[in-house]
């Protein structure tokens, strides 16, 4: 499956895009997605380690199993307020 990953703030700048199409095997977790993102966007790897991943608008653990219909986003440390 291929998931579109939304990117924000410094993560968007480092990846050079607000959205990235990331190919994954049919059975894949958030951890697999992190590894694939770091491989495809080496500049993003450092910030990715300090970032959360959101699946369908909730924070998700690395063990979370992804499906093709999921909305996925990298959430760098937030700084609202």
């Amino acid at each position: 499956m291929t998931l579109t990953v939304h990117l924000f703030a410094r993560a968007r700048e480092l990846a050079g895009s607000a959205a990235a199409a990331v190919p994954l095997p049919p059975v894949a977790t958030v951890g697999d997605l992190r590894r694939e993102l770091a491989t495809r966007f080496p500049a993003l790897a450092g910030l990715l380690e300090r970032s959360a991943v959101a699946v369908n608008h909730d924070f998700a653990e690395d063990s979370h199993r992804l499906t093709a219909a999921d909305e996925v986003a990298v959430i760098p440390p937030v700084s609202g307020g």
């Binding site: 924000f8 703030a9 300090r50 959101a54 998700a60 440390p77 937030v78 700084s79 609202g80 307020g81």
Partner: protein, 145 residues
């Protein structure tokens, strides 16, 4: 109510909106753009949000505030886009029967917003350079308000 907006926040109207006859206390918090962070001079901030998730997390915070305190009205509004020094970036207004709970509920809402809601600021210096602020620790997975 919760809202993300690119327009200036009318915090007087927001404060009026949460007032209630059964509430003798209204607490209002405003976050405003500061000109100095340590030695770093800021002329403007750019705010960016992951809109759908930010709205969901703000709604969760409102629900949790209503669950924990005897709230009459609660409003959380965050501004997006470019803000000059002195402008209001966030407003939280809460009414409760008594002041202690209004202060506590308002503080909880602001603190949780800053911890959980996917909004980011970029600090812009006078020389045109800027940096995204990514200092906080990531929230634990499955963290809800």
């Amino acid at each position: 109510m919760i809202r993300l907006t690119h327009d200036p926040i009318d915090y007087a109207a927001l404060t009026e909106a949460v007032r209630s006859p059964r509430c003798g206390a209204v607490a209002l918090f405003l976050g405003t753009v500061r000109d100095l962070t340590g030695e770093f001079v800021t002329v403007a901030l750019d705010y960016e949000a992951y809109g759908p998730m930010a709205e969901k997390k703000l709604a969760e915070i409102e629900a949790e505030v209503r669950r924990r305190w005897p709230v009459g009205g609660v409003a959380l509004v965050h501004r997006l886009g470019r803000l000059a020094v002195g402008e209001v970036s966030v407003a939280v207004a809460v009414s409760c029967p008594h002041r202690a709970e209004a202060f506590d509920a308002c503080r909880f809402a602001v603190d949780t917003l800053k911890e959980l809601v996917p909004i980011w600021k970029r600090e812009n210096a006078p020389d045109g350079t800027g940096e995204w602020v990514h200092q906080s620790a990531p929230p634990p997975a499955n963290r809800e308000a």
